[in-house]
Every structure is written in C-alpha cells, then in structure tokens.
C-alpha cells in the first residue's frame, strides 16, 4: 500500500514540474520519426474507420509514429484521454472532437501545455481558433449549398422549376446539422425560390428514426412533395424505405443525400437516389496527416483548410468507391 502511496507523491511532484509551462523543445522538431497521438471518436462508424485508416497511411508516408486513442463519442472520456495523451509527451496531437463545444477546454489545456495541435473533421466555434494550429475538415456550408444545387438540377431534369420538398436533418444543434441546412436553404432561396421546404424533422444520423420521421412527413405532405433532402445518405435510405411503404415510388422523387456513404452509393447505382455530395473520409484523414506533418516540419499552415465537396450523380458514383472502401 505505502509503496504505491510513495509512487503517487513522487508523481505528484513530477507533475507539478511538468505543468510548469510550455515544452519549447518539441515545437520545432522535424516530422520524421516524431511521435503523434490521434484522438479519434470511434471505430464504430464507416466514415470514422476510413478516416483513421487514411490518416495512418498518410502519416506513415511522412514517417510519423502515430498512437491512436479512441472513445465512444464520449466527450468526458475524451477530456481524460487528452490529459492521458499530454502525459505521454507527444510531439503533436491530432484531435477529432467528440463534441465541437465540449472539446474547447481541452484545446486550451493542450495550448497551455504547448503541444502542436491539429483539429480534424468537426470545427469548433471559430472564436476559439487561437487554441489550435490547424483545422482540416469538411466545409458544411459548402456541402449544404452543393446539395441544394444538385436538388435544383434534379428538378430541372424533370422540367420543374418549382415544387415542394421536405428535409431530414442530423441531431439539432450540432454544427454540421446547422451549417448544412444553412448552406442548403440559402442556395435554394437564391437560385430556386420556387422550391419550398414544407417540413423538417431530425433523423439524428439514424436510419430507423429517419424512417419513422419520413413516414410521418409523407403522411402529412405525401401527395405534395417532389423531392427530399437528407443531411446524410443513411437517413435518405430511411426516406426511401418510408416512401416504398407509403406506396410512393422513390424514383418519382428527387432524392438528394450527403457524404456518399455506402448507403448512398447503392441507392445511386440502382437509381432510387438522384444525387449526393462527396465528403471523403479519405481526404479528411489525409488532410489532417499532412497538416500535422507540415506543422512539425515548421512549414506555414492555414488555420482552416476545407475538404473539396464535389456533387455526385449516378455518372460519378465511381469517385466514391475509395471513400466507401469499395
């Protein structure tokens, strides 16, 4: 018992020393062979898994030693992992926030510890941008507007320049949900004021919930809508099921989804889905890895770098294959 107690006391003193201000040395170490810790959210989603894979491969190219810590989208857990990670004295940290708001205190902690930091995938409120050296990830406003353009094209193809749609969004209040919807509605108002959004329901990135939500929306406006926008392809998959169950042929609707995830690819190929917007986990991972490498090489790095967000229709669906590991 007393043995471990001594250990504690010792470490306590040790820690006080450690806490005492930035570790200047690591700041300018070259990327080659330096130690990077990736704090990512989970293995349990295709996007996240591919993101991790791509990051590791790219990092290897730059000769980085990467250690990965995973939590289950649990911000509390992630906060602890940050402390843990700082304890291992890495040359740099790459963080995928489990929650874009909850991460802020940890970011500040990392800043005060003086460890170079890349934030990937989810962009915290930009007023805290001084806490990170680089952000790489999707531009959700851009994503939203691209999907709006896709929807408009779809209507044009069917010879419509006005009509009605409804929208399924992610968990209310999360940045991607807000920003994608913002981009989508703005572009829609500018370019096709004739297309009206009759209703919006959260599908919470969940297919089953989306099915029920869509079902109720079809109940309300079934006969009035010509199109649906879902902030993610798997939610759109739910919409398609709901439509079939409601006796509506999905092909008769202009269905625009998002991410070009596996669900989207299948639906695009069999023609039930009209379009989606590619947000490639591969790019996401690679960008993050490059950012951290450049950072360690002491190169100049943009505070914010967005991923490209190309529109994908049946014709371009092959572009998604790497993204879905096909």
């Amino acid at each position: 018992m007393s043995k471990s107690l001594n250990a504690l006391l010792a470490t306590a003193a040790f820690a006080v020393a450690a806490m005492a201000g930035p570790l200047a040395t690591t700041a300018s170490a070259a990327a080659e062979g330096s130690k990077v810790i990736l704090l990512t959210v989970t293995d349990e989603c295709s996007y996240c898994a591919l993101h991790k894979k791509a990051f590791l491969e790219e990092a290897a190219k730059h000769g980085l030693e990467v250690e990965v810590k995973i939590n289950n989208f649990d911000p509390a857990e992630q906060a602890n992992q940050v402390d843990q990670a700082l304890g291992e004295r890495p040359d740099a940290l790459v963080v995928w926030p489990a929650d874009a708001n909850a991460i802020v205190p940890s970011l500040r902690k990392i800043k005060t510890a003086g460890v170079p930091l890349v934030v990937t995938n989810s962009l915290p409120d930009q007023k805290y941008s001084k806490f990170w050296d680089a952000f790489t990830g999707p531009d959700d406003i851009g994503n939203g507007s691209t999907s709006a353009e896709a929807l408009i094209e779809g209507f044009k193809e069917r010879g419509l320049d006005e009509g009605n749609i409804f929208v399924l969004v992610g968990p209310l209040g999360t940045p991607p949900q807000i920003q994608r919807l913002e981009g989508f509605t703005k572009t829609l108002e500018e370019k096709a004021p004739g297309i009206k959004i009759l209703g919006t329901q959260p599908g919470n990135w969940d297919q089953t919930q989306s099915t029920d939500a869509a079902a109720s929306l079809f109940t309300q406006f079934g006969d009035k809508v010509q199109g649906v926008y879902a902030e993610a392809d798997n939610m759109l998959a739910g919409v398609i099921v709901a439509a079939q169950r409601a006796g509506i042929d999905p092909k008769s609707l202009v269905l625009v989804g998002h991410n070009c995830s596996i669900e989207g690819v299948t639906a695009l190929e069999n023609g039930t889905q009209y379009a989606t917007v590619l947000q490639s986990p591969i790019d996401d991972g690679i960008y993050a890895a490059q950012a951290v490498a450049n950072l360690l090489d002491g190169k100049e790095v943009e505070n914010i770098t967005y991923l490209p967000h190309p529109m994908i229709k049946q014709a371009q669906v092959k572009d998604c294959y790497p993204a879905v590991g096909k």
Partner: protein
C-alpha cells in the same frame, strides 16, 4: 401500506352492473382491457383531428413501427412473466443481429433468418444459464451480457455499416396479399404462437407458476431452471428477429440500429398489463401494449413533436403503469 389499501378499496368499482362490465373490471385484467380501450379511443381521436391519419400510408407506418418492437415485447413478456423483471440486452442483441443479417444476406433470406435466430437463441441461452442456473440478478446480468455482445459485435464489424449482398425486400417492404406488410404478419404470427404456448403448453403453465411463487414451484417439483433457461432463450431469439426486421429495411447492418429496443419493449410489456411481480398477464397484452405505444408515437410524430418527447411520454407511461399495477395489486389483496 394501510393508506394504500384504503385508496385501493375506494378505487374498487361499486359492484359493476352488467356481466360484460364485470369482466372488464376484473382486477387482474383491468389494466390490459383499459389499454385496449384507450388505444381504440386514440385511433378515433386521431382520425377525427388529423387529416389522412387513417390513410393506408399512415396505418402502414404505424403497423411497421409496431412490428419489431412488438416482437421484442412479446419476448420480454416471457421474462417478466417468469418473475425475472426484464432483459436489458435486447437492444444489443438486435443491433448485432442486423450485422449478422447483412453479412449473411447473400445466402438468401431464409438462411439468413435462420442464422440470426440461432444467434439470438445462443445469446438468450447464455443469459438463461447465468440467471436460471447460476442465480445471478437478471437485470445486472443482462446489462453485462448487453455490453459483451455489443463489444463483440463492434470488434467483429469494425463498427462499419455493412450492406447486404442480396434481396431482403420481402421482409423489408413486402406485403402479404398486397395490403398487410409481411413484417406485421410475422409479428401477429409470433404473438399468437406465444399466446398459445403460454396458455396451452406445459412449459407455459410452469413459466407462469414459477413467476407466481418460485419456492412453491420448486417444492412442487416443477422444472424451474429448465423453464427459465428456455424463457431467456425465447426472449433472445425474439430480440434477434426484431433486429432482422430493422436490418431488412435497407438490407443493411449497423450497431446503431435498434437502439431503444429495450425500453420500448419494457414499456410495451408494462403498459400492456403484464404484472412485474410475475405470473400474471398474457402475451397478447404485451402485443397490445406495443400497439398502444406505436399509436401514441405516431400521433406525436404527425403532430410534429420529435422523438425526444416520445421518450419522455414512454417513461411517464411506464411509471403510470407501475403505479396503476401496484394499486390494482392492492385491490386484489
């Protein structure tokens, strides 16, 4: 306690006049009957206040949303009836089943379903052994199993959404004779089968008696462990089938599918009027409980209220059911 029994006796109906009303008011059936009545009233109200509420589209929506939960609820009812409260591993079992479903769909729907059922049976059996033979606390044991199953599933699937190579539309969106969804047919079949098993077989009789009074059951030489094990096995299987229904929607498997299944099933069982103390209630009660909840959810949805409200409502409904059940229990005493 005294205060309660007083309340109870005042709540006791002043000797109901017609025999029909009497049947309805029988303490042990009161709640179950009340739920059925309320469901009907809700449907009427919805039909009156919400346009195209009873349209085929929406009726289908309701039926679809009841199918999976209903099957799980019937499975859960076996556990509750046996006096082991609840099985909190149904959501996990269902989720992993979706993965299995998707990965094996290329073998064809029947084979896939068979595999899923086998999986559920094994998981259930495991819990049956832990609770029935090792005498572990059912709630905690099933929570533990839940996390083991989920963990294993995640490790196996790498958490990826798995897209089935094959056609599951017969189960997903197919309909029987062009009107009733196959899922609903399956649900009804299972519910009726369960009802028959519990009401007419030796196993069912033993299950009920064990739920009523385990020590008397063992003195009477009933096959306690065996029966409990089977009950858990059935429940596990039901959960897996529910998972198959989720997966069949888009022929995909994902650990996020079938999240709230545990609570939905519990809510259905309790609302339906299956007694928590065990031994009382029928399989059909659980099924009707599920229907009731589905109708409520649908109305909330169509009225534009999001699912978080539904969660709260379900919770309150459960609390209410628990209290009501206890009071009725008081009437009996």
């Amino acid at each position: 306690m005294i205060a309660m029994t007083q309340k109870a006796t005042t709540a006791m109906p002043a000797n109901p006049s017609s025999p029909l009303l009497q049947r309805f008011m029988r303490p042990d059936r009161l709640q179950a009957n009340a739920v059925k009545l309320v469901t009907v009233l809700l449907l009427l109200w919805g039909w009156a206040t919400i346009d195209n509420f009873l349209s085929t589209a929406n009726v289908n929506a309701i039926l679809y949303s009841v199918a999976a939960v209903g099957i799980a609820a019937v499975g859960m009812a076996f556990i509750t009836l046996s006096g082991n409260l609840f099985m909190l591993s149904m959501g996990a079992t269902a989720a992993v089943s979706t993965i299995i479903f998707a990965t094996t769909l290329h073998l064809g729907l029947p084979a896939t379903l068979a595999l899923v059922v086998i999986f559920g049976a094994i998981v259930g059996l495991l819990q049956g052994v832990v609770v029935g033979w090792a005498g572990a606390n059912p709630i905690i044991a099933t929570i533990a199993i839940a996390s083991i199953v989920t963990g294993a599933g995640a490790l196996y699937s790498g958490g990826l959404t798995i897209v089935g190579q094959g056609d599951a539309s017969w189960l997903g969106v197919g309909t029987f004779a062009g009107l009733v969804p196959n899922q609903v047919v399956l649900f009804l079949a299972i519910a009726v089968l369960a009802e028959i098993i519990v009401e007419r077989t030796r196993f069912g009789r033993e299950l009920r008696l064990i739920g009523m009074n385990p020590s008397a059951a063992s003195v009477a030489g009933l096959r306690v462990q065996r029966t409990l094990t089977i009950a858990f096995l059935v429940a596990g299987t039901a959960a897996a089938v529910a998972g198959a229904l989720f997966a069949s929607q888009a022929a995909q498997g994902n650990l996020r599918l079938g999240g709230g299944l545990d609570f939905d099933a519990i809510a259905a069982v309790l609302v339906g009027g299956v007694a928590i103390k065990g031994g009382r209630g029928r399989m059909m009660d659980a099924a009707f409980g599920a229907l009731f909840l589905a109708v409520v959810s649908n109305i909330l949805l169509v009225k534009g209220l999001a699912f978080e409200v539904q969660l709260a409502v379900k919770g309150l409904v459960v609390v209410a059911a628990v209290i009501l059940g206890a009071l009725i229990g008081g009437i009996k005493r």
